[in-house]
Amino acid sequence: MAATIQIHELTTNADTGVDKTSSTVRFKAVASTTSTTVDANDPLVVPGAGTNYSYVKKLRAYMSAAPNTNISNMRWYSDGSSGFGTGVACTAKNLGTTFGTHYNTAMSGGSSLFGYTSGSPINGDGTDTGPFVPADNTTYIGDIIELQISVASTASNGALSAETLTLAWDEI
């Protein structure tokens, strides 16, 4: 049997989260400790001037069923083109295994999610290095990926189009 790996949105620490595989990570004006629900509550507001930032979202892979031998070469990437429109950007970075805090000020050290493509992905196991083996079953594996949306005054009101984030890995 092949492994089952889920994408989790972390809430309180590096080993606690909510399954977001094939679901939506909703950027909000409140932290993930308050809400990970996919609804229209706590939306981001287009500012009159300057930029508003969402609370960061921290994603990590969770092994819910073990591989035969191991998992390695984890990587995260986007499709390389933003459908968010003018004034809306998404920043991403690898946190390693340090959870940090939830915050809604500008992320430092990140770069555009859409710069991370299949040919130039975020390394998903640079700090928490693989290979991940059957003994890692029912634990979080790999590095934490942090995402944040910024909304500038030039953005239009309304809901955004959905964008897809991919987690890829190799397994034997």
């Binding site: 049997m1 092949a2 492994a3 089952t4 790996i5 889920q6 994408i7 977001k20 595989t21 094939s22 679901s23 939506t24 990570v25 909703r26 950027f27 996919v38 979202k57 994603l59 035969n68 031998t69 990437y77 499709d79 459908g83 968010f84 429109g85 998404c90 999610l113 299949s118 040919g119 992905p121 995402l147 949306i149 809901a159 955004l160 189009s161 959905a162 964008e163 897809t164 984030l165 991919t166 987690l167 890829a168 890995w169 190799d170 397994e171 034997i172």
Partner: protein, 145 residues
């Protein structure tokens, strides 16, 4: 039900007839087969190649930002009240035409995928679990979907 990740099994036959069905090392094999567990998918048998290794490449998706507008508006339509439906009918009888605001095109959201990868000295074979489609690439080509 057979999960997407389990739709294909592999089998490597060594020169002494031994069959390898797990692990990644297939060096020295004389035949490698990718065997579907669903009858609709094609079987792939590779012979006459110098084999190096094999693995499974997996792709999991999550949607970030935004929402599924179609699902959202379908749900609103589903929950609409009888009085609202009556009001709409009355409006339509009066011949009132509302301007329809254009929405930007939605990107198709890709689904999960798994690929069997067989690395050979002269090429690589990728086989998708979703439909059994195959792709032969140069030996150093890394395919990501």
């Amino acid at each position: 039900m057979i999960l997407l990740q389990d739709r294909y099994a592999f089998e490597a036959e060594m020169p002494d007839g031994t069959l390898i069905t797990s692990g990644g090392d297939i060096a020295g094999a004389v035949r490698v087969s990718l065997i579907p567990k669903i009858a609709l998918l094609p079987r792939h048998d590779i012979l006459g190649q110098v084999f190096i290794r094999r693995f499974l490449r997996a792709f999991k998706r999550s949607v970030v930002g935004g929402f599924d507008k179609k699902a959202y508006f379908d749900e609103i339509e589903r929950q609409i009240s009888d009085s609202r439906i009556a009001a709409r009918a009355a409006r339509d009888e009066k011949g009132i035409v509302l301007a329809i605001e254009k929405t930007e095109p939605e990107k198709p959201v890709k689904g999960d995928e798994y690929m069997q990868v067989v690395c050979m000295e002269s090429c690589r074979l990728y086989v998708r679990h979703s439909d059994g489609a195959s792709l032969i690439t140069p030996p150093d080509f890394e395919l990501y979907l």
